[in-house]
């Protein structure tokens, strides 16, 4: 198991390096750089002023030179400074990361806590009314875009209850209730898709497991149905679900970017979107790298958990 974890961890290094190159190039290859955006429509700007601005932002070196400066900085925790407000990118991300992490954790919690029981019930009571309701609900959950649901929830609560989540971010550690009331709707908005996936996956794998011989044997030996379902079937059915949840983290992060903007939560996604519009390269690079590393780390964790749940994998 230790060797398996070590191999997996080593593999993340070239992955992250590759990602950093791709991010750097993609940002640079976007047509129109920060200078174009800064001077857009300014007919009074002289070439001297434009060159002065380029120098002020450190945009004078070649791409390899710029990449090296950035990558070597990142290795020491220095992501550079924002072009827009000169603030260290690390500070910006450090401020935004807890918001996005909390949003994703809450969304995952909702998805798992609601999705797994729904999937189990749906599988155990196959073709019943509750099964059909769950399946239809799952279909709707997969089909509804999270930004649309977020907007709908916001308008609904404001219209019906005269309430919207608090506008100013409050840390969970400062005021847990206010914090949770702030995150409830956004987390629900982005969790619905994952919830539906989890529910459908649990249902499908449970159906498969429940038809296995060992389950039938357990039942024949007189083990109670509830014990068979939860102790024998569910544990085995959860293995593919863990993989799916790992992949869903990426989707949750994508959804978080839009939903954070809708709810005015200054998380990493919100910061990233604003930075893209502003061509704030250091922030775009830093935020994208952070999201990518989070995704890689989540998948690493999934691999490790997978190996733990099914020892055959770590022995291969």
């Amino acid at each position: 198991m230790v060797g398996f974890v070590a191999r997996r961890m080593l593999l993340t290094i070239p992955t992250v390096l590759g990602i950093s190159v791709v991010i750097f190039l993609m940002v640079r290859l976007m047509p129109g750089d920060i200078i174009d955006v800064l001077f857009a429509g300014d007919v009074t700007a002289t070439p001297e002023i434009i060159e002065q601005a380029r120098a002020q932002l450190g945009l004078t070196g070649s791409y390899p030179e710029q990449y090296w400066n950035w990558a070597s900085g990142v290795a020491t925790g220095d992501f550079g400074d924002s072009y827009r407000n000169a603030e260290p990118v690390a500070d910006i991300l450090w401020r935004a990361l807890p918001i996005t992490l909390e949003l994703m954790i809450l969304a995952l919690l909702i998805a798992v806590v609601v999705g797994i029981p729904l999937g189990v019930v749906s599988a155990v009571r196959r073709d019943s009314a509750s099964d059909y309701a769950s399946r239809v609900g799952g279909l709707v959950g997969i089909s509804v875009p999270n930004f649309w649901l977020a907007t709908l929830l916001l308008l609904f609560t404001s219209r019906v209850f005269g309430w919207v989540p608090p506008l100013q971010y409050t840390s969970f550690f400062d005021d847990p209730l206010t914090n949770l009331s702030q995150f409830a709707l956004p987390a629900l908005s982005i969790s619905v898709f994952t919830l539906a996936i989890v529910m459908r996956m649990v249902r499908a794998t449970m159906l498969e497991v429940l038809s296995q011989d060992y389950v039938r044997t357990a039942r024949a030996k007189g083990v109670r149905r509830r014990l068979v379902v939860y102790r024998h079937a569910l544990r085995n059915a959860l293995i593919p679900v863990v993989t799916v949840v790992g992949f869903e983290i990426g989707i949750l992060m994508g959804g978080a970017a839009i939903v954070e903007t809708i709810f005015g939560l200054p998380g990493v996604g919100y910061v990233l979107l604003q930075a893209i519009f502003n061509r704030d390269f250091p922030v775009v690079q830093g935020a994208t790298l952070l999201l990518a590393v989070t995704f890689v780390a989540a998948n690493l964790l999934v691999d490790i958990v997978y190996g733990w749940l099914d020892p055959r994998i770590s022995q291969e």
Partner: protein
Amino acid sequence: MSDNPTKDTPSEGHELSRRELLVKAGVVGAGAVAAGSLAGKATAAPSRVGATPKKGGKITFALEQDPVHIAPFGGILTANHWGKEPMYESLIEWDAKLNRRPALAESWKVVDPRTIDFTIRKGVRFHNGKEVTAADAKYSFDLQANPPLPGSVAVLGQFPSIESTEVRSKYVLRMKLKKPDARVFGYLAWTRYSAIVPEGMYQQVNAGREGIGTGPFRLVSFVPGQGVEYVANPNYRKKGLPYLSALSLRTLPDEQARIAALRAGAIDGATLSADGARAFQGDRNFVVLRGLTAAFRELQITQKPGETKPWHDKRVRQAVNFAINRQEILNRVYNGFGEYSGHVPPGYGPWPLTRAELRNTYLKHDLAKARTLMRQAGFANGFDVTMSTFSTPLDFGQVAAVIKAQLDRIGINLTIKAEEPGTFAANNGAGRFEWDLTARGMRGDVDGYVAEFNPSSNAYKAWYPGFKNVRMWRLVGNGFIQLDDDKRLKMYKELQKILLDEQLQVPLVAVTKFQVFRKRVKNMYVAFSDFNTGLKTAWVE
């Protein structure tokens, strides 16, 4: 839409007319130099006539864009100024109708065309208690000339030709210009880049997150991505103001979120689109304010040597102008709100041509005349052309679609190319386009709307290197250095008529800005400058 009676901001003493300003500047009669710009009417949005203003209370206003930072100098985004506007002032200010008024300078004197003396108002104090002096003004102008981070030197195009400033006495600042530059007074009154801060402020505080000004509100906190908190400045120089005891600016980029927050009472006001504002129409708990801002849409073309494009023929450009039905654009894209715009937007003080001149003569929709002109130019069967525009905001694409249909009637086959804003900006700046559907915004001085027609400008070299009109060139150049407002006004009127005859840029329409407020908010108005200046003098029931 609610369109309530108008009442402007509470006056601070008497309001100076343009002539009074000139007298103060010591130029009337001498006729040598004048104060610059922007007296006269602006189309400030109506605000509600209230009873006696009440002191106290707080307004929470939603910003549609994050300020990113609130440094006084070198802010690129309009949102930068939204965030810092309540705390900073300049030597001169505009009122709601763009009348220029003394602010931190109680008067000024134009000593000669390159020298201006400003007398600082005595007894005005910064939020830290320090009295404002000429030394503070000098410090501020030095930083404006070279904005430190987090500001950007990219704004220096707006900085007038100030060579140096000199402290003549505790309250007198002498400003030396590199050359006569009529933009100085508009630059100061705009306040966007011309705040006066205490000497040494950048060494005392983190200017991107903190600030010390003289404005009606004192900064409490600024958190990027979230908002700005202010409390009233009890020592504000305008007695009785501000009425509010606190002001909160919250960043809410999503319009539906702003609508929901308004309905839930989480915010008191916000800027909305026309469609968003319509949702509050007839709701007794809200008031919808509207007004023109300096933002207008225009069709831009390129004319380069070596190219033989149909629109190099003036008759073709004129045909395009006459084929465009601006009222149809307003009706179909902007729900009927907005106004025809010349090269200087309507509402920009005395400078634009009159509504009648634009509607009845220069921008009149006349399809028959357009067809005749096309025929005379040898393009009776039209031609193909690509017009680039912004992919967002959405109205650009909609205006482009209307124009395409209109020009189709004179045989012009328009291909619309929607570009991401950064791409559009890059191509536009480099002149890499045939036609561009673009937009303009607020400028401190009227020159900002015609500067690209100066043949020595960067923009002219990129867009019109193959074009020549000596009269136009002279008017642009002379208007820049002419400090006598009356003479200047005549020059810019003539220049606009030449531009509307040449149609190098085809101005289209000025758009209306909508703001919705809870009914308890009084005395608010939509500022022509696209700032939220009315918040400084608003009050709540």
